[in-house]
Structure formats: C-alpha cells, structure tokens
C-alpha cells in the first residue's frame, strides 16, 4: 500500500476482520495483509492488546483434530469499531473532496 497507515487504522482493520464469524489468528493475519503491508509477527501483539482492552475475546473450538483458538469481537470492541468506521467515513469524505473536488458537498 502506497499510503502511510498508523496504528489506529491497523486496530480498526483487525477489529473489523475479527468481527466476522469464526475467525482465527492466521486468517486475521491474511485478511490484514491483503490490504496493509505488515509482517506476520505484527498481528499477535495487536490482537493481544485488543484482547486486554476488552475489545476481543477468544474461545477454543475443535478443528481438524485439534483445538483452534478463535477470536470474537466484544460489545466494547464493536463500539470502538463503529467509532473508527464513522471516523473513517469522515476522513474519506475529506480526502475525496481534496482528490476529486467538491463533489461530496
């Protein structure tokens, strides 16, 4: 990605990836890496922090003969994600106005 992306955007992308049903570390990492250049070891600390903040929770479920740890967004995480999404919406509008002229207004 050609644009600078800060930690708050990364948090929002991770939350958004975790908001889907039945997702897990590897899948979240691949989802994030499809839109953002981050190394594979970047995601665990972010997931762990969001978990400590009460935005994510984990549960273990049997998959292919082993227990896989799944991530799930909490109500607090959902609220934070919604805030991020509306901020993103504002930001996007402003950028669009700069990029394409006052179409949005």
């Amino acid at each position: 990605m050609a644009f600078n992306t800060g930690p708050s955007l990364l948090d929002a992308i991770v939350l958004s990836a975790a908001a889907r049903e039945g997702t897990y570390g590897y899948k979240i990492t691949q989802d994030v890496r499809s839109v953002m250049e981050v190394s594979e070891s970047t995601l665990y600390p972010v997931l762990r922090r969001l978990q400590k903040d009460g935005c994510l929770e984990t549960y273990d479920q049997e998959f292919g003969g082993r227990n896989r740890r799944y991530y799930k967004i909490t109500p607090a995480g959902r609220q934070r994600l919604d805030e991020s999404l509306s901020e993103w919406e504002d930001y996007k509008k402003k950028i669009d106005i700069v990029f394409y002229g006052g179409i949005e207004t």
Partner: protein, 203 residues
Amino acid sequence: MTKREFLEALNDELLPLSEDERSAAIKYYSDYIDDAGEENLAAVLEELGSPSQVAASIKADAEIGRNVPPQPKQAPQQAAPQPKRNGMSAWGLVLLIVLSPVWIPLLAAVGGIILGLFGTFIGMLVAGVVMVLVAIAMIIIGIITMLETPMVGLLLIGVSMLIAGIGVLMVLVSVFLCATVIPAMVRGVVRIFRRPASQSGTA
C-alpha cells in the same frame, strides 16, 4: 527448524513474562503454524523471523500494554531519550577530562591573545589622547609664535591640527575595537566552548 523447535525456542525467550502471557503467545503461534499448513512451514518460519525477534515484539507490547493500553507508540518515545541523554553527558564529561591537556592550554592561549589585543587597544587610546593634548599645546604655541613670525606660527598650527586629527582617529579606532571586536571575540570563543555541551544536552 521444525514447529516444535520454534515453539520451544520462543517459550525460552518468553520466560520473563507471566505464565498466562507466555502460554497465550505459544498457543497463538502454534495455531498459526498449523493453519499455515505443513507445506508452508519453511516459508512461514522465515516470514515470522527468529524466535527471539518474535519474542521481542511480544515482550515490547506486553510491557507497554500494562501502562498505556491505547497508545503503544507514545511510551517508548518518551522513555527512550532519557537514558540516552545521561549517557551522552557522562561521555562528554569523560572526554572533557581526557582532553584537558589539549583544551586548557588552548583556552589559555586564546585568553592571552584577547588580553594582548585589549592592551594594544588601551595603548592606542592613550597614545591618541596624548597626541590630541600635545596638538592643543602646539596650537597654543603656534598662536603665540604667529604674533612674531606668522609663517612659522601657521606651520605649527597646521602640523598640530594634523596631529590632533590623527590622535582623534586613533581614539575613535581604539574605542570602536574595544567596544565591538573584543566582545565579539569573547562571544565567539564562548560559543565554541558551549557548542559541544549544548549538543550533548539536546541529543
């Protein structure tokens, strides 16, 4: 490196962390490697980096998360310059002492030059004042002489005015030099000596 070797090495690296913290990380990376698939093991391990690199990323965040959860970037930036500054000034002090045989004589020499110049300027000032006084005396003599032999008197007055002019010029030059050149030199020397100190202070 096999999955087992990687996880064992990671576990060793994470020993300083709490049991809870460590087992969560091990579980995550164990799942991660399994989900990436057996055939991608080598690629995944390479992409993750060495166990110590992975451990460093976990430890950094575990420690920061304890203090300031929402802003992980802020804490290390504020904490980092503090010990660095102390280290620099300590080194600066050592350097100052070690290099004292060099800079003390240098400082003395510069001080001597400034004092010498100051003396020269004072001398010029006094000489200029004396010349003006002599010239005034000569003008008076010239006026008296003019009463007897006007041409000699005029010559005397002219010469003494020339001397007075030179004297006034010397006074002006020496006052100017004292007032501007010496303070500027002192300031320059002070700046030279202050610069390394202030640099080590801000760096």
